[in-house]
Symmetry: C2
Subunit: 168 residues, 2 copies
């Protein structure tokens, strides 16, 4: 079951320039506001606030904010989110985590994606998990692949349980 069949989702899609990610979300029929930061390497609360003016929040169950794709700059800027999720891919190399400790220390959920091609890029996804836990022992770590629906269900389930806690 897709999340969007059960919840009313909206997306704020941050990028330095262009609307490639935003148009991917729109293809799924999800209301999406693209936010271009120009030269800035992160979203901030003011940019998000401005985007929220274009979203019907009273009819939104789940708001996803996709920050600029960058593991450094977003660390210091809270966006008012309930859950901070960091997603890395095995294709970024298995030293990507120890090179960017702060984002993993400040996230409440970590997703390691594209684990199906870990071998092709000569990366050990278990080392990546261990590195995250060495920085943040309490954080849940989920390994996902778009070719493994079960792994995506774990990820979806995590969001769902967060939503249910909030609406009780």
């Amino acid at each position: 079951m897709y999340l969007k069949d059960k919840y009313r989702i909206a997306v704020v899609a941050g990028d330095v320039i262009a609307e490639m990610d935003a148009s991917r979300f729109r293809k799924l029929d999800v209301p999406t506001i693209p936010v271009n930061t120009g030269k800035e390497c992160h979203l901030d609360a003011k940019l998000v606030e401005k985007a929220l003016g274009e979203i019907d929040l009273d009819n939104t169950d789940l708001l996803i904010i996709e920050n600029v794709g960058n593991l450094i700059c977003p660390v210091d800027f809270k966006l008012g989110e309930h859950l901070r999720v960091v997603i890395v891919s095995v294709t970024e190399g298995d030293d990507i985590i120890l090179k960017h400790p702060m984002i993993f220390k400040t996230s409440e959920l970590a997703v390691i994606n594209k684990v199906d091609i870990a071998h092709a890029v000569d990366v050990d996804s278990e080392k990546m998990r261990d590195d995250i836990l060495s920085l943040n022992p309490e954080v849940p770590v989920i390994l996902t692949s778009k070719h493994d629906w079960e792994s995506l269900e774990t990820w979806i389930g995590f969001i769902e349980s967060g939503l249910e806690k909030r609406t009780k």
Copy 2:
């Protein structure tokens, strides 16, 4: 032939934290100064100047400065380099270029790496080349793979011809 067998190379290796890249260079017996930026997402000229104090420049033919791995922040900061090179990998996705136009517009050489696994990550490396040329029609674009020595020789040749121009 390796560059280091022909030229005296030194490296300034920038990273937010840690010395993983620096220790890779050192394994090759190349004098390397690691520079940690802390929370900053780019090197600047002052950080480079400080590192240069630890390098025997009179006995260096080629100085390589590796910036923090980030396609946004380094754009605006000249480091005194003779040649600005941007390296992306196919594993970053074939929309990575149009999402980060400024770094490709301001670089004098572009390298697309890991082209041997383009198929595994469902990426068209020729599209990536076309995207770079659409932003910067004059820039040389080299496609490389560590498994294809010939492709690396093109890259090495480019550096060599630059060095020879400068020492004439």
